[in-house]
Symmetry: C2
Subunit: 167 residues, 2 copies
């Protein structure tokens, strides 16, 4: 099954046909970085109103700033951004299991050989959504490398499409 | 300066007002995962034709599958996806510097205290775009945890909006 390839092959030629933004520069024109979850229900461009070329968008499971730190440093130190929006969301999968659950499930499904490939992996799950937004914002603010960067935290509601500021 | 917050506060209420997709489920309905770069010039939803709710979208500097591995494992082992599209792009920042360049620049700009926060960090830069797509696809294919997963690699052209398959 190749849903992803099918979608891409069907839609990309149309996108390219009407594409007019080939002149955009590498550094984000509005000098900010959004960190959000990989969740399929989030469309950052539309939901957060990000113009093409304006901002870096980093996405991972749970919108973890620790997991994103390599990309954040590159965004700021090499490409000149100085504002970070951390946007986690309601109904996040990371709220539904623990690190031990995940390791247990992988071992059950893929055996010891599979489990060995992630034996030291921290899945970075969390039990409380708003607390985790605050924790991530504070963690970033504590870094010397983030001096002078404007860092804020939000929750996106997958049920309503609304974003609210929490930090 | 708060370009990101301004954009969000201006656009999100309009998005939420016409939002009708609050019923979507947590697991991606089309069971695939896209890994692409954080680059500001990429809008995966439109360029790769991803319906809302259909796919996980992971983004980091350079679309590195190693950096994304935690999220990939969660996508597949906990949320049931079984197709991966790796999409790197022309004009990527990761082609323009080396790991040593990045560490040197951070030390120059932020001093030893700043540099210490990333002293063991591999920036995961690469010198050859297509070779890196192939390398990432092969790296994933070599994992026991990826058995049965359909993995392919692409290049997105920021100059034309076109995607082409390379692996």
């Amino acid at each position: 099954m190749s849903n992803g390839i099918n979608n891409l092959e069907e839609g990309n030629p149309k996108y390219a046909e009407s594409f007019t933004q080939g002149h955009l520069a590498l550094p984000p024109s509005q000098r900010y970085t959004v960190i959000t979850c990989m969740d399929a229900r989030i469309d950052p461009t539309s939901a957060f109103n990000i113009p093409l070329g304006a901002a870096h968008v980093i996405r991972n499971a749970g919108a973890s700033v620790k997991d994103a730190f390599r990309s954040i440093v590159i965004s700021q130190q090499l490409l000149g951004t100085h504002e970070v929006l951390v946007v986690k969301h309601t109904g996040c999968g990371m709220l539904t299991f623990t690190n031990d659950d995940a390791h247990g499930l992988v071992t059950k499904n893929k055996g010891e050989e599979g489990a060995a490939e992630i034996k030291d992996l921290d899945f970075l799950t969390f039990p409380d959504l708003e607390a985790e937004v605050k924790k991530d914002v504070q963690w970033l603010k504590g870094k010397k490398l983030e001096e002078g960067v404007n860092i804020s935290g939000f929750v996106y509601e997958v049920e309503t499409g609304k974003v609210r500021k929490v930090e």
